[in-house]
Symmetry: C2
């Protein structure tokens, strides 16, 4: 992993940093920002972490998660160097409109535009957490148990705990080192996958009851009535589309979520043989080859029929 020398120099010479993560931050964004912040503080630097959105409840087991702040104006007064973490434009971090004397970018996502004075973007990295690991190794900062937990979680989230195709030998070796440094794989897994609220589980069962499999598509939906009955909300449907994806004979899993009367959000997940971004584009949406989505205003039955018929005409 080649880290830009001027990036290393900036971390060594500057004194005050603001880490900013993307909107709706995930485990990779949160863990990476927390680990980088702790490491820089151990070097005697002052750091702040900004997120427009609060840390989701299921990531509040991460050490230091209360360091996140939304007070961008106050932080701005300290004249920090900006570090975009796990994103690469100010808009993705909801800080467009603010200027900083120096901007650094550390990310593994598709580049949206050429923002930043020093950019380290590695599309091949499985997680920003892997990049931060190598950065801290090169900076020779101390790895505490807290840093190890944050980086391990960052990597676990973005690799589906070592199940996705981005799980390289380096990913596993780095994770092994992080465990040696104090990360607890079982604690991470329990927090990520086995800490569901009962009401969320009830919502899942309701959604699974709507399952229909046709034309190699598995489709489930969640209505506003179901949210009301279970006292849940949209964030509780996270990962629901992974369940019908377990069926080996299908090409695509679909979760339809009712946003409002007649308005639906469709999440499409491929099992690898189908480019679902192409299907989403037909409906004015977009995304990646294996995960895409769109919004549509129509009767549920109509939406379902349209989707069941959309695959035949779409190839990878």
């Amino acid at each position: 992993m080649r880290i830009p020398r001027n990036l290393l120099a900036a971390f060594r010479s500057e004194d005050t940093f603001l880490m900013a993560v993307h909107i709706d931050p995930d485990g990779d964004a949160i863990g990476s920002a927390l680990a980088l912040s702790s490491a820089l503080e151990s070097m005697g630097k002052k750091t702040f972490i900004f997120s427009r959105d609060p840390v989701p409840k299921y990531y509040r087991f991460l050490p230091g998660h209360d360091k996140f702040s939304t007070r961008i104006k106050e932080i701005r007064k300290k004249d920090p160097v900006l570090v975009l973490v796990d994103c690469n434009t100010p808009a993705r971090a909801a800080i467009d409109g603010y200027s900083f004397r120096k901007s650094l970018v550390i990310d593994h996502h598709e580049t949206e535009r050429d923002f930043g004075d020093i950019r380290w973007i590695d599309h091949k990295a499985a997680a920003t957490g892997v990049m931060i690991f190598h950065l801290l190794k090169t900076l020779r900062t101390a790895f505490t148990k807290e840093i190890a937990m944050n980086l391990y979680t960052a990597i676990a989230v973005d690799t589906g705990t070592f199940r996705y195709s981005n799980t390289t030998s380096d990913v596993l070796r780095v994770s092994g080192e992080l465990v040696a440094m104090g990360a607890d794989p079982n604690l991470v897994a329990v927090n990520l996958y086995e800490s569901w609220e009962y009401k969320r589980f009830r919502l899942l069962v309701m959604a699974l009851n709507t399952l229909e499999v046709r034309n190699r598509i598995a489709m489930i939906h969640v209505t506003q009535d179901m949210f009301r009955e279970t006292r849940t909300s949209a964030e509780d449907t996270e990962h629901f589309s992974n369940f019908p994806r377990m069926i080996g004979s299908i090409k695509m899993a679909v979760l339809l979520r009712e946003l409002d009367n007649w308005q639906w959000k469709a999440s499409l997940r491929s099992r690898g043989g189908l480019n679902v971004a192409r299907i989403a584009e037909k409906f004015g949406g977009g995304g990646h080859e294996n995960a895409a989505g769109f919004k549509i205003t129509a009767d549920l039955k109509v939406v379902r029929e349209l989707l069941f018929k959309a695959v035949g005409s779409s190839k990878k």
Copy 2:
């Protein structure tokens, strides 16, 4: 990992080996036996693999899975050295009654009795696959892609793909090496977790609809009627109890499976704070601290009530 020197000597000096795995073999038993067999054959040895039960369908993606044989009598005539793999008594491998001129044991399970001329039992090993990895490294045999896939799968199965508390830094480092040697983490995960038959998924949804949560116990059941309606059988309920275990507020998940009219098999899974073996023992069953079971003949309602009341009086 300290490997007995006489074990290494036996593998070097003997020519014909019979690997035998335990009844109802799992991924660790199957992958470990296949990897050891391939490695010994690359050393010019003749090998056989015995399993009383067929390789379960969801492990038939493993390279070489068709090497398993049930023809113990014919194999016996070749006068092989016996190697018990992932078990430590002939009874566990269903080969009691046959004698061998030399017996080796490689296992990480609790020792049942002192069987074997050379015993290598490491309770701390997360999987027999980890032991075989270190054995082959020491024997300096070639690691093919097939061996890497088999050992990676063995380790993945016994660590819940790196989610259980036996996931040590060594486990992750070894797995990283196996990926570098050609194991494919995504292919393994897809085969283990995302290749469900639709009928099995339907059975799961039916089971989840029976969910009741009370007294910090989450209970589901599967009846003979459900098996008939979905054309499934007992082996399809494997891992069902993991689903209610996802609920963070519970202490124990229970799966009740109807064996016959009025006869039920209960599988108890703890979330860590409760010794479920103690509960199973009350009903004449047994098991481990985190996973135990028993059989009971009674009306379903009665069984459920007994279990819902069994926890209050049982502490770890």
